[in-house]
């Protein structure tokens, strides 16, 4: 059921989602977005520039985290403003050939603010990987009826 503004309260939980990430997912995101920076698919290059290994695109993490909001709002177009800071990288282990995830990103959301005049609610997302916050100030403003 689609949420309505008048039924919401600040602090209300909108749910959570767990996202499995593999090296294949990063290759798919590179192709779909056009961001072919080798730190997202080449181990030797990534370690050569001082990273722990291949890391996810910040935009992959941001883009996959917002689906919780799209699905909750009932229409992806309801997201009228979406921002984040990228604070920690998401290292993705090479699990090629197995059914295992190379990283797991945990996303949860809560209502951070309601603006009745504008007809919008702000959803604050908490996005972690291996217990560390990887996005900060991840906020999606949603227009609701």
């Amino acid at each position: 059921m689609t949420p309505t503004l008048s039924d919401l309260a600040v602090g209300q939980d909108i749910g959570s989602r767990s996202i499995d990430v593999t090296r294949t997912d990063l290759v798919k995101y590179a192709g779909a977005s056009g961001d072919f920076n080798p730190i997202h698919w080449n181990e030797a290059f990534a370690t050569g520039v001082g990273l722990p290994g291949v890391i996810a695109h910040g935009m992959f993490t941001m883009g996959s985290a917002v689906q919780l909001v799209s699905d909750w709002a009932g229409d992806p177009a309801a997201v009228v403003d979406f921002q984040t800071r990228f604070t920690k990288p998401v290292p993705v282990s090479d699990t090629t050939g197995t059914a295992d995830a190379g990283a797991v990103v945990e996303v949860s959301g809560a209502i951070g603010a309601i603006d009745a005049d504008k007809g919008t609610a702000r959803v604050d997302l908490t996005v972690t990987c291996a217990g560390q916050k990887v996005l900060m100030k991840a906020q999606a403003v949603v227009r609701l009826a």
């Binding site: 935009m59 941001m62 699905d71 990228f86």
Partner: protein
């Protein structure tokens, strides 16, 4: 290599048209693990009042990063792409991006701040939809679609 401080305030006009296709929306949606039917099924998108498939909320990054490439590849800017880290990102949607849109992006360099031996560069991409048949340079009748802003940190030596 040092960042040119005169970059601040510089603008790059819309250069190329990006045609938003249904299969690209589906491909991008799958790549960010989105499953909402409005990204995949035209009838589901129309049932929500949209003219065609709706792009995911971060789809505009494709157009924004193409515009940013003009700055990063500008030899006068002094940016070493291998030392670039994405620091923050924001999208303000003036209206949803849908399949069939013909988009252009104007690039504005809003801030350049020295940080250690490197710099933080804030750019803004104003994204517009062109009327049918219009060329990239057309300003008449184009519709504001999204404003994207991003900051990139260009790490200095030893950072």
């Amino acid at each position: 290599m040092t960042i040119n401080p005169d970059l601040q305030g510089r603008s790059y006009p819309a250069k190329e048209v990006y045609d938003v296709g249904r299969e690209k929306i589906r491909e991008f949606a799958r790549a960010v693990k989105a499953t909402h039917p409005a990204h995949f099924d035209v009838e589901a998108a129309r049932a929500l009042g949209h003219s065609d498939l709706v792009a995911p909320p971060t789809f505009a990054i494709i157009v924004a990063q193409r515009a940013d490439a003009q700055l990063i590849e500008d030899p006068d800017a002094g940016i070493d792409f291998s030392r670039v880290v994405h620091a923050d990102q924001r999208f303000i949607h003036h209206r949803p991006i849908v399949a069939g849109d013909r988009l252009v992006a104007e690039l504005h360099v809003d801030g350049v701040r020295a940080m250690g031996g490197g710099a933080m560069i804030t750019t803004r991409q104003e994204i517009f939809a062109l009327p049918a048949g219009a060329s990239a340079a057309t300003a008449d009748g184009r519709e504001p679609v999204a404003t994207a802003t991003s900051s990139i940190l260009v790490r200095g030596e030893g950072q």
